[in-house]
Structures are given as structure tokens and as C-alpha cells.
Amino acid sequence: MISVKNLYKTFNQGKATQVNAVNGISLDIKKEEFLVIVGSNGSGKSTLLDLIAGKLFADKGEIVLNGFDVSKLPDYKRSKWIARVFQNPFSGTASQLSILDNFRLASIRTQSKGLTIGINELFKKKVKEKISLLGMGLENKIDQPIGSLSGGQRQALTLLMSIMDDCKVLLLDEPTAALDPRSSALIMQTADLLIKEFNLTALLITHNLRDAYNYGNRIIMMNEGRIVQDINNYEKAKLKQTELYDWFV
């Protein structure tokens, strides 16, 4: 599904503050693989995700998505395949717009935004049905600005928004970092459920090693812009949680 070849990204090239954020990464991610990426701060995890999403462009190397070379495509064009959930709940939703408006935009992620009114009774019903799956009671608040909700509720809705339109790849960049333990657990369970139900290929960055241990079917560890550990599904099942902690020592 995603093939990354010899990817390099350097910030502040030639200055004293030069950082080789991604330093020659090659990675093949198969369809329906749920890849967990761990690593200390500054190891290049987020940069790698931004490169795949198209928010950043690589200095060298190529990214092939579903058979297309997307290396030169900006983020808003890669959204045809990719949906994202961000670390900051405010990034994934538009605060002043209603839940309904946010879902409307998400439901036409891969399409052009035309001059017709897309919100009708049928669409409202569809959104209410989808939101009721979360069991948060938000289906009765679809006309409220999404900014009036809590961070956990917004992250849950962002997750749900990603499957409103055709989605191949789901990028989760520390989606629970800003949440309390209960909301975090709910978000991770919802994500896992959606990934399985919609056969998504997913990438998750997390600092929570228990999540890294519990979820996903492949785990890699990054350090100084390189992949230093790569454990596939078979080996991951045998991996102990304490071994994960040892990677960081």
C-alpha cells in the first residue's frame, strides 16, 4: 500500500542547527497493516508521517501510495487516499463550524467541493447514525459548533470523519497525547475497531508503550531519523511489554 524508498529530510541545511530528521528510510507497508511507530522525541517519527501525508516534501527519495508516485503531490491532493488524526484535537476539526458541517466536509474529502448544498435530511440521518456508534450522545448535538466539545469528543469525531469518505490509509499522530486515560482508551479502541472494520492501512505514532504493545500488527522503532527495530506480526505476538521499555534504555 505504501512504499517509502530512501527518504531523506533535513531541516536548517548547512546551519549550526542542522537536523537530519529523516535519514535514509525505506519502508514497505502492506495493505491492512497496522503499523505502530515508537521512538524518543526528535527521532523523526512525526517528520516521517508529515512526509507521507505530504505536509512536508522530502529532500530525496520517493513515496509510492497505492501504486502512484505521490512524492511531488501536496497534502490536499494526497487526501484522496489519506485521512489524518492529529495530536491536537483542534487541528482535525474546524471549531466554529457545526458537527454537521465538519462531517459534510469529511464526507467529500476525495471529491471537489462544489456550489451545491450537500446537507439534506438524508445526510443528517446518516451522520446521526454514524455518531451514535460512539455512544457519547453527540448525535443530538450535530448543529452545535464542534468547538464546544471536549478534546476527547473531538478526537473521536475526527476518527469517525476519516471513514465518511473512501479511505485507504489512516495516519494517527499521537491521537491520545492530549487526552485523559479514559478518553485515550476509548479513542484507541474506536480506532482499532474502524481500522479492522474498514480494512484500513494505518500508521500510529505513540509514546504510550502499552498502546504500542496492545494495538497494531507491526511495530518499528525510530532513532535519529533511522529505523532501528522492525518487528512484524508474528514476532510482535511474542514480544513482551517489558522488552519494549528496554528499547528506550
Partner: protein, 291 residues
């Protein structure tokens, strides 16, 4: 009484600027002051066309295009050359002064005995009432179009662009393109204000746009005060309040003049009034329950 009616008429003419500033400032979160130039541009294009006996109906699309081009230029400078929006607006506004002067040929163009939008229909024998009815119809149509636009998928994407750029890009929207379109739309509406005002007052003057952006800002801030006070989320109500804001703003200025304030001090009074309406919502009144 006619004095106040004329203030209302002016307010209605300024509703284009108010809607334009609402789009650039509230929807896109961009401080755009191309306004001063695009307002005069609209008035200049109108004057030249009407003087050449071209119908006001044919002049309107040309005014819209002229305004849109000036807004798109600011948008292009801001997004493609990565220049601060305020500076981009100043540059375009500044250069528009020369362009307007070139279009007009001299600094003042009177429009006496020239058929205009306000002489097309004769609903009332009183010219002011006649202008009032025509303006109401004109603005209702304009606002309906803008309101509809904001409700479409494209409009929702526009509103999201000013709200969370990260989000809307990840949902497949080219935000640079969206901002250029937004600024073009805002300045097309501003140019329409120039179109209306030049015909209402019967002349176009090169300096008529100086500081006019404050009229739009004041109107939008009045509207915003109501929007926040009553927690309004409806697009239609918000647009209606922006129009109301434009009229209230002119009425307050008329009252000030009526009270005998020196006309030379009008801009100072205007600025003070805008300052007051900005700080009023920030004051905490003790008799209101704390939320």
C-alpha cells in the same frame, strides 16, 4: 428626517463593504485593507461607464470583475509570495490609487443627469424613498447569493479555511486557492459599494475611499457583538446582522453630526466609536450573572 434617511441609504450602500470585510476578516481571518482601493475602483469604473452612457446593469458585472481582480492580486501576493496579508493589501491598495486616477482621468467625476441604477425605476416620487426601495431589493438579492454560497459545500470549505487550515488541507482543499477566491469575492463586494455610492451621491472622487475600511470593520464588529451576545450560529442571521451593523454605524455618525459635532472631527469620532463598540463586549457588568 431626510438627513437620517440619507444616513440609512449610505449604510445600505456600505453593506457591500461590510459583507466584504465579514468574508475577509471573520470567515478567512485575514486582515485585508485592499478595501480602500477596491471601493474607489468600483466607483471609478462605474463613473466612467455611466458617463459613456453604458447601462448600470452592464456596469455591474464589470465592477465586480474589477474588484475581484484587485482582491485576487492581494491574495496572490499573500499566498504565492508569502507576504503578510496586511502588507499585501497595503501594496495593492496603494497602487490602486494610481490605477483609479488613470481610469478617471481627473480626481473628480460628477454624474449629473446621467441615467443610473436609481433612475431606472420610479416607485416613489421622492428620490430618497425611490433609492431606498431599489437598494433594499439590490441588497436582498446580493445577500441571498452570498448566504446561499456560504451554505454550499464550497462555502463550508471556505469557512473551514479560516478556522483550521490543517484540517481543511487534510480534507483535500487547496487553501491558497481558497484564500485568493475569498479575497476576490470580498473585494468584488467592496467594489459594489463603490458602484452604489457613486450613483447615490452623484459623483466619484479619488479620495472617497480613504479610510473606508473602518466602515466595514465597524459594521462587522457591531454585528459580532450581537452574534456573540445571542450565540448566533445561523449564516442568514449573521449576514442580516452585518447589514444591520452597516446601517447602525451610519446612523450613529448621523446622530453625532446632528448633535453639532464639527464635521472636521468626524473621522476622530468614527474611530472613537469603533473603539467603544470593540471594548463594550469586553467590559464585565456586575449586574450580569457570571458564566
Amino acid at each position: 428626517m431626510d438627513f437620517y434617511l440619507f444616513a440609512v441609504l449610505q449604510g445600505l450602500c456600505f453593506s457591500g463593504i461590510a459583507l466584504g470585510i465579514y468574508i475577509s476578516m471573520k470567515i478567512f481571518n485575514i486582515p485585508d485593507i485592499t478595501t480602500d482601493g477596491s471601493y474607489t475602483l468600483g466607483a471609478a469604473v462605474t463613473a466612467i461607464l455611466l458617463m459613456h452612457h453604458i447601462s448600470a446593469f452592464i456596469a455591474l458585472p464589470l465592477v465586480l470583475i474589477a474588484g475581484a481582480i484587485s482582491g485576487a492580486l492581494t491574495g496572490l501576493i499573500h499566498t504565492k509570495l508569502k507576504i503578510n496579508a496586511l502588507l499585501a493589501g497595503i501594496l495593492v491598495m496603494y497602487s490602486l490609487y494610481s490605477i483609479n486616477l488613470t481610469i478617471m482621468g481627473r480626481s473628480n467625476l460628477p454624474l449629473i443627469n446621467v441615467p443610473s441604477l436609481f433612475s431606472i425605476l420610479n416607485i416613489s416620487s421622492n428620490t430618497n424613498y425611490n433609492s431606498f426601495y431599489i437598494l433594499i431589493v439590490f441588497i436582498t438579492i446580493t445577500t441571498t447569493i452570498i448566504g446561499y454560497l456560504l451554505k454550499t459545500d464550497f462555502g463550508i470549505a471556505m469557512r473551514a479555511t479560516g478556522d483550521s487550515e490543517t484540517m481543511i488541507r487534510s480534507l483535500g482543499v487547496n487553501t491558497d486557492r481558497m484564500k485568493i477566491i475569498g479575497l476576490a469575492l470580498a473585494n468584488a463586494l467592496t467594489a459594489v459599494s463603490g458602484y452604489l455610492m457613486s450613483q447615490l451621491q452623484g459623483f466619484t472622487d479619488i479620495s472617497m475611499g480613504i479610510g473606508i475600511v473602518i466602515v466595514g470593520l465597524g459594521s462587522v464588529i457591531i454585528a459580532e457583538t450581537f452574534i456573540n451576545l445571542f450565540n448566533i450560529t445561523s449564516v442568514w442571521l449573521s449576514l442580516g446582522l452585518v447589514l444591520l451593523g452597516a446601517v447602525i454605524f451610519q446612523l450613529v455618525l448621523a446622530i453625532t453630526l446632528d448633535l453639532g459635532v464639527d464635521a472636521n472631527l468626524l473621522k476622530l469620532v468614527t474611530a472613537a466609536f469603533v473603539l467603544i463598540i470593540i471594548i463594550i463586549p469586553k467590559l464585565k457588568f456586575n449586574f450580569l450573572p457570571k458564566i
